[in-house]
């Protein structure tokens, strides 16, 4: 770490410590409120309304603590059960949902220890820096002469020279304080995690509910896709083949009596067949592009790049083929990102980078366009996210006004086989 990072980190720790103190003190009224609402539950059912409201506050506070802990290297997931459907506030169902969630009680168990440890660790981070600043500003000099006040190793300050000595001492103390400040913050994050991280069971529960959602999405998307393919085939290629059969049948009838018309019909039939082929080709491209099957992700992206109206550079380091479903998802995601880049960004050049590290496929699409892309808008991006979610993949978009826009995709996957040349390279 270079010294600027080190100073920035220390100052951040000091500020974080200073804010932690009042925040932690908030825990106490929250705890009291919870106990009161719990006690009031039998009284006119007041707790039915109060307890959920207080819980909401506690969860907000706990989530803030989780977010702050993440800044000190301890990311903490939210452990809460998803809210059931048709559970309005004030209803028994809502109440039960809160009371049965172990995370509610774990939050509660954290409130008081957090209220004590939070300020202690917060103060530890700021005491030395503040003391150092005091010395540097020569405050001891101002208030000490004539009293028994001192600074650092000099107690009391009795001469002007003693007073000025607080300056170098302050510098040293500030430096030590800034250097040490991150440690109590990390300890705080560690303790917070101990209390507020989901238990193994809660983690599994969260995972199950997430998998249920993504599975339902995947199944829906798949069904919709099949319906679309069915409709395209039915109205397109299938209808054309029917018409083809009729035209050829008619030509067959006429071939003896009116060869000229029969010949015209046959030419028509040929045209119908090529129109059917064009439709089928487009359909196949949308399902699974043939070049993807033949060349894998890298080749397919290169082929895609060649067909775009602006120059696209592709760099790839994929030592093997990916599993077919992942490959296909990655391809369509990249295709969508490239389409957006060429269509909306006004970019003059785009680059695609494909890498595989650990068990993760990383794909980046960067354009030099005007930026300002909003990932929240646009159904294309939502489709991408759904496609990725089925594989626990994620996408992030960075697009400051003025560009560049960078779309980053992460897809967990293994490489299935080392790349082999699919033929006889004898020449």
């Amino acid at each position: 770490m270079d010294s600027r990072d080190w100073i920035r980190e220390g100052l951040r720790a000091a500020v974080s410590g200073a804010t932690a103190v009042p925040l932690a003190v908030l825990n106490i009224p929250l705890f009291v409120l919870f106990v009161v609402s719990l006690v009031l539950t039998p009284v006119l059912g007041l707790g039915l309304v109060l307890l959920p409201l207080v819980t909401k506050l506690i969860r907000t506070r706990a989530n803030l603590a989780r977010r702050l802990a993440a800044r000190w290297g301890r990311p903490i997931d939210r452990p809460y059960l998803p809210r059931p459907q048709r559970a309005p506030l004030g209803g028994l169902r809502h109440y039960r949902w809160i009371m049965r969630d172990p995370a509610t009680w774990r939050d509660l168990a954290w409130l008081l220890p957090g209220a004590v440890l939070g300020p202690v660790l917060g103060l530890l981070a700021i005491v030395l820096p503040v003391y150092g600043v005091e010395g540097i500003l020569l405050i001891p000099l101002l208030i000490s002469l004539g009293t028994d006040y001192g600074y650092g190793v000099i107690w009391p300050i009795s001469t002007l020279a003693d007073g000025f000595l607080s300056l170098p001492q302050g510098v040293v103390i500030l430096a030590i304080g800034v250097a040490a400040a991150p440690y109590p913050r990390r300890a705080d994050a560690w303790i917070t995690r101990l209390f507020l991280a989901p238990t193994r069971a809660a983690e599994l529960r969260l995972r199950v509910s997430q998998l249920t959602t993504t599975r339902a999405d995947t199944v829906d998307a798949q069904a919709a896709e099949l319906r679309r393919i069915e409709r395209d085939l039915h109205d397109g290629a299938q209808a054309r083949l029917v018409s083809l059969g009729m035209t050829i049948g008619l030509a067959e009838e006429l071939v003896g009596a009116d060869p000229a018309t029969a010949r015209k019909l046959l030419a028509e039939a040929r045209e119908t067949s090529s129109a059917a082929l064009v439709e089928l080709r487009q359909l196949v491209r949308g399902i699974h592009p043939p070049v993807l099957a033949e060349r894998g992700l890298e080749g397919a992206v290169r082929a895609l790049a060649m067909a775009l109206p602006i120059p696209v550079t592709v760099t790839a380091a994929l030592p093997g083929r990916l599993d077919t479903p992942v490959e296909s998802a990655a391809y369509f995601v990249i295709a969508e990102a490239l389409a957006n880049a060429t269509r909306h960004s006004g970019a003059g050049a785009v680059s695609v980078d494909l890498r595989h590290t650990g068990d993760m496929l990383l794909a980046g699409v960067t354009d030099d366009g005007r930026g300002g892309a909003d990932p929240a808008g646009g159904t294309g991006l939502r489709g991408i996210e759904r496609r990725l979610a089925a594989f626990d993949g994620t996408m992030s978009v960075s697009s400051p006004p003025g560009g560049p826009t960078v779309v980053t995709v992460e897809l967990p996957c293994a490489l299935s086989s080392p790349r082999t040349s699919p033929s006889f390279e004898t020449g």
Partner: protein, 212 residues
């Protein structure tokens, strides 16, 4: 004309044989997989090979790889590659040896028998023929050095890539043959192609199209 065919679907293989033989071509060998293509070509030394891109055993691009290695083993071996889909990427790979005698067409084009046979003959004679679909995909690009071409010149270059003669280009664009030659020499100049025989420059012009 002696032809070797590589096509795995019996229906299409028989269709191709029937069409070629109807036009006085002799099909000396018809293989149905990638690995037997090269030995067949080495053994028979045909005037032209008609090859499907996707062949067993891997059903990826065996045929394309086979065609490329055949041209490495027998330089200038004329190859007409057929596929259900065309990719400019594959076209570029086929053309990198810059030797001519290469065709790359959608299988759909076989339905227009007369044109298909013409394509087979021209590839056998050392011509370069790209599917209009490849050309359309590339026409959409607007990158140097192609950006320097006028709209008309692009049209002419596209038709050259499809393997059409000056006369055919003139008819298609409703202009005189002289005008076509003028456009073509302007294209050669703008793409900075060195002077050489006309056929070879045509290949290079197509490559310039694909190299960008």
């Amino acid at each position: 004309m002696r032809v070797v065919i590589a096509e795995d679907l019996a229906l299409l293989r028989d269709g191709l044989i029937r069409i070629l033989e109807a036009y006085d071509c002799e099909v000396v060998a018809a293989v149905d997989n990638g690995p037997s293509l090269l030995p067949a070509l080495v053994e028979h030394r045909p005037d032209v090979a008609v090859v499907d891109v996707r062949l067993p055993p891997t059903f990826t691009d065996e045929g394309l790889q086979g065609a490329i290695s055949a041209r490495r083993a027998i330089p200038g071996m004329p190859v007409l590659v057929l596929s259900q889909h065309v990719e400019p990427l594959y076209a570029r790979e086929l053309l990198t040896d810059r030797a001519g005698g290469v065709g790359y067409l959608l299988k759909d084009r076989v339905a227009n028998v007369a044109q298909f046979i013409d394509a087979v003959r021209r590839v056998a004679g050392g011509g370069t023929i790209m599917d209009p679909e490849v050309v359309t995909q590339l026409l959409a690009r607007n990158v140097p050095p192609l950006a320097a071409l006028t709209v008309r010149e692009r049209e002419v270059l596209g038709l050259m890539a499809e393997g059409r003669s000056n006369g055919a280009i003139a008819t298609k664009l409703y202009i005189g043959e002289k005008a076509v030659s003028k456009h073509i020499s302007s294209i050669f100049t703008k793409l900075a192609l060195p002077p050489s025989d006309d056929d070879h420059r045509r290949v290079l012009a197509v490559l310039a199209y694909l190299d960008v």
